[in-house]
Symmetry: D3
Subunit: 243 residues, 6 copies
Amino acid sequence: MPEIKRPSGRMADALRQVEIVTGFSRHAEGSALIRMGGTEVLCAASVEGRVPGFLRGAGQGWVTAEYGMLPRATHTRGDREAARGKQSGRTQEIQRLIGRSLRAVVDRTALGEMTITLDCDVLNADGGTRCAAITGAWVALALAIRTLRKANVIATDPLIGQVAAVSCGVFGGVPVLDLDYAEDSNAEADANFVLTGTGGIVEIQATAERATFEEATFGTLLGLARKGTAELFTAQRAALDAA
Amino acid sequence: MPEIKRPSGRMADALRQVEIVTGFSRHAEGSALIRMGGTEVLCAASVEGRVPGFLRGAGQGWVTAEYGMLPRATHTRGDREAARGKQSGRTQEIQRLIGRSLRAVVDRTALGEMTITLDCDVLNADGGTRCAAITGAWVALALAIRTLRKANVIATDPLIGQVAAVSCGVFGGVPVLDLDYAEDSNAEADANFVLTGTGGIVEIQATAERATFEEATFGTLLGLARKGTAELFTAQRAALDAA
Amino acid sequence: MPEIKRPSGRMADALRQVEIVTGFSRHAEGSALIRMGGTEVLCAASVEGRVPGFLRGAGQGWVTAEYGMLPRATHTRGDREAARGKQSGRTQEIQRLIGRSLRAVVDRTALGEMTITLDCDVLNADGGTRCAAITGAWVALALAIRTLRKANVIATDPLIGQVAAVSCGVFGGVPVLDLDYAEDSNAEADANFVLTGTGGIVEIQATAERATFEEATFGTLLGLARKGTAELFTAQRAALDAA
Amino acid sequence: MPEIKRPSGRMADALRQVEIVTGFSRHAEGSALIRMGGTEVLCAASVEGRVPGFLRGAGQGWVTAEYGMLPRATHTRGDREAARGKQSGRTQEIQRLIGRSLRAVVDRTALGEMTITLDCDVLNADGGTRCAAITGAWVALALAIRTLRKANVIATDPLIGQVAAVSCGVFGGVPVLDLDYAEDSNAEADANFVLTGTGGIVEIQATAERATFEEATFGTLLGLARKGTAELFTAQRAALDAA
Amino acid sequence: MPEIKRPSGRMADALRQVEIVTGFSRHAEGSALIRMGGTEVLCAASVEGRVPGFLRGAGQGWVTAEYGMLPRATHTRGDREAARGKQSGRTQEIQRLIGRSLRAVVDRTALGEMTITLDCDVLNADGGTRCAAITGAWVALALAIRTLRKANVIATDPLIGQVAAVSCGVFGGVPVLDLDYAEDSNAEADANFVLTGTGGIVEIQATAERATFEEATFGTLLGLARKGTAELFTAQRAALDAA
Amino acid sequence: MPEIKRPSGRMADALRQVEIVTGFSRHAEGSALIRMGGTEVLCAASVEGRVPGFLRGAGQGWVTAEYGMLPRATHTRGDREAARGKQSGRTQEIQRLIGRSLRAVVDRTALGEMTITLDCDVLNADGGTRCAAITGAWVALALAIRTLRKANVIATDPLIGQVAAVSCGVFGGVPVLDLDYAEDSNAEADANFVLTGTGGIVEIQATAERATFEEATFGTLLGLARKGTAELFTAQRAALDAA
């Protein structure tokens, strides 16, 4: 790794401190409060015994997500989306991404005609909230499925893999892992990687903010993401074991 | 107090366990996470150096509140208001009540042309969320004002009193203090009292749910509320002292 | 009663002139145009042979209300809520209150699986519109039930009592009955009382606008409300008898 | 006129009974409650000392209208537009028509940079509400202008003519004047005519509902409209004289 | 025809050049791109095997229309209605008119329980878009019905006539046919005529923009409309023959 | 390239036929109708002499985009977003992507305080509409800038590069270029690449639909995208030369 001065003092390939607390949402079938440095996202899984219209009678379940941010999760207060009367394009983009990411590791036939909704609400924001949401939501989902399995509601485990996400970017000319807000708002490029526990790519969203970036840079970012998600997979499993 | 079997096993005049943690919202000028038994509300105060249109040029500040509930704060998942595109009547009623309650103890001239918004978001709900929001929001407000005073933004302390709220009700024929969800959903009558540290009444909202109630009952409920808010005032001051 | 100079010249314990005209809404199953001084509210009851989803199959009826104000019912024109695209928090709060108040005197099992909706539209506003709406809506409801009974649609009378409402407040330091707009906008405290014909309390909403108020004051206000609603019950019965 | 059996028993060229009561809306600068048979529309004029953005600085005033219908003005209760969150296409079409019709008889330069808004709210509906609204709104507008003139706010009278409207149609094969609901819902053709006191045509909206209609028929309908509006002009002047 | 200087140099009774191209919308059951001078409207017919709620079980079909305008169809960019969150009153008025006009020439019993929706989207606007939409939509409708007939979905032809529309107006004191934008925005009067192939009147919308107009003028405008629609009927049939 | 049977019969590395017609939107400062096989997107550039609030006074311009799809651009009719009252998450996601992509090749300081809005409306959809929109919008943008430069409104050319987009995916196990609808709806993975004329990466959005994909596959897709965009850059330049 090249020399670099990150605002946080972290090494270029260092994740922020990760903490996953389960059971925060008392009523949810599964929940995880994930902290990645100053970013804190509460993920709660809700199970419903029916599926959306387009799946009715198809013998398959559905996994979906909603995303929100408390108005004062950020440096300056943002509008409350409920008061403004609509979700922003950013919010919708993020919740669609979370849903797709989780569905990549769920056998929806094994799930049966049930819907699991993951509510991901940002309590404190310091960059990387969508990635933290994906990583935390997977834990909440796994716990909800554990609840269903214990209750003998589903026979076969529908969870066929682990999924986690991390953002990487080019900051001060150097590729770095797990951007915080100070970096994110000044990065030349920014990429979110959603990867599985077996190394598969679920989703990549790479954006050059001020310039464009080269293919080689992209490769370096992907390498960082593999390192970061490996640590996240470990944290997810530890949280599940402790729950 | 008469014999009664409360679902929680509490005495008729016993509050639930109260805990107020400050500083949860890292970016807010003041914040308090209040827990009253299984109810948990995050209150964050945001300061803005301007006032709504109807106060412009009047040399007075404004204190207002917004209220929300995470979709899975409740036993069964509720719709996300942002997704549904509007706040419910209940939400609007509650946030108006919180704002009025806080304004009762603020000297808005001393505050000057500034707006303080209290975001009260329910993370876990077990009855009494609007009362917990008022009690916690007062702490967040006090901390925000402390921040402004330390920064010498305001010369005179605009906080002229303490305010707290508690719900009382008639459950199983007996007046009880601080209804939880199991009681609230089966109470014959339900009253929210917003009182000040000096014993003044700020707001009373009393509703007979299934029948009507007598004046004497109402008096008993008010007495319970006085006892309960006295304990809440102590908890508020302790939280401020520790912050 | 202490000496006081009310803007209207009324005694402290005097209601405004009350008039209830039935049948104004030609198509409604029951209707009442209530005038309390300069406040004029048209209340129309509509019967529908089905209930909302949450009551389906429960063998019970539903009574609900909607509230509106013509844009120029007030001193200066207000926005038309339909044009603005949503009902204000105040509107929703009021219509929820009207519905709850009426349900307190209806045996919903006797009503059967029917919904009665009370539309309360303010034609002219001079303070106390929500109280006038409750008092008038009860008459419209009673007439609609009379219509249903005459048509032998329901066997048992579901109307188990009378309900009326009045606002009291502290004006110029003196507790007064039935605030008009000139008083309401300058009152130190303002309380709406919803009472039944047999003296039960259905709902109390008391708010200190600029300061707080004492328990004794509250008692005086309740006494005034009892006197005022007694007169309103008489006016309601007279309107029904004349219809 | 040919023999015809109108549901109301009226002659083919007979208007319904017309009554125009002024001053119903106490706070409005001008108001008129118009009754045409069972149709009853409250028209209130509100004056504001500014113009919409597109006219700012143009030295001209603006006259506009809003239209609404109380939910139970009709045989069966309709949705409240404020609750549904938007005005229907029909509502918008009607309020645009009312505004255009009134502007045809206003010298907007003489009016100066002021806006007059006519709120037309249907209290009871029995067909022809948009026409009644135009006829009544003209009276409310004239009264508002009289108020402004008396207060010496405007020097020259901006009201340069009278405008009224009536619907005609083909019912049972016969052209008839002033359709009521029973006729309107079964008419083969339906035309709204907005005419001025000097015989000019302001607006014609003719629609064949089930078939098409011939040019000659159209001529007959226009003749009936001339007769009807002549009577309406007289009623308008009488209402103004009595006010 | 009197001497007149039209901005386009056209004779007073001359239509703009008309062109109707079928099949532009590849997936639609029928489509027509109509050009009238600089106005260009894409009309697409969609067939659905069910009817709106109010017609369910009535053994009748439904024909309806939606209208839109690309934001930059006009001289200066207009707001995108989808982004603004609602359709304007003008849009709703126009799409209701298109639907009514087409239903005048459809035997809805012969159509059976099917809905045909005509989407009319303005790609380029130079005046007369609603009339062009009606004329083009009829062709799209006829093609969709041809598709249904070829597939033996309907036994009897539900299309019982031709319908077309044209706007006429008084420009520079002279009645002219087929107003373009330069004329429309300066016309003294403006009338849209919807006529059938057999000479029946379906709908007339005549508006005096700055003054009023006389009955004789109206007659002249109708005459021009008859001439114009005759040419449009020919163009429609030619488009169908070529399809 | 491996053997593969694409529904269209195309080679794995073959683009669909590309056609870019300029000037379709008569009023726009620049416009391009792009056809990629059966996908047809109309891109219109509108210039406005001001910038959004967050850029006011910053001496920089703004480039943004809006995206829409005609209801019957697709196999079965979709809801009209304007009628439904909001833009879908997908629509917002796409229009944000188009805007970001274009801003990557614009020197916003050279543009000055002006906004260029690109309206991208899909007239016919057969897969790849967002990519076609980016490619076409660049041409419309270049033409609008040419217009501004000819009018001497801007001194320095703000267009600092070419940008185009193409989707690649894994279909039937084989990486293929430029997915059409038949492929897109059955692809195992789907990636949109936004690249510049000098080979820089602007944005990558890669999604595994049913499984995950490997890093090597991703590399192959990027290679195909480079080949495809090279052809699109040529088509863009040809369209500009011919305009």
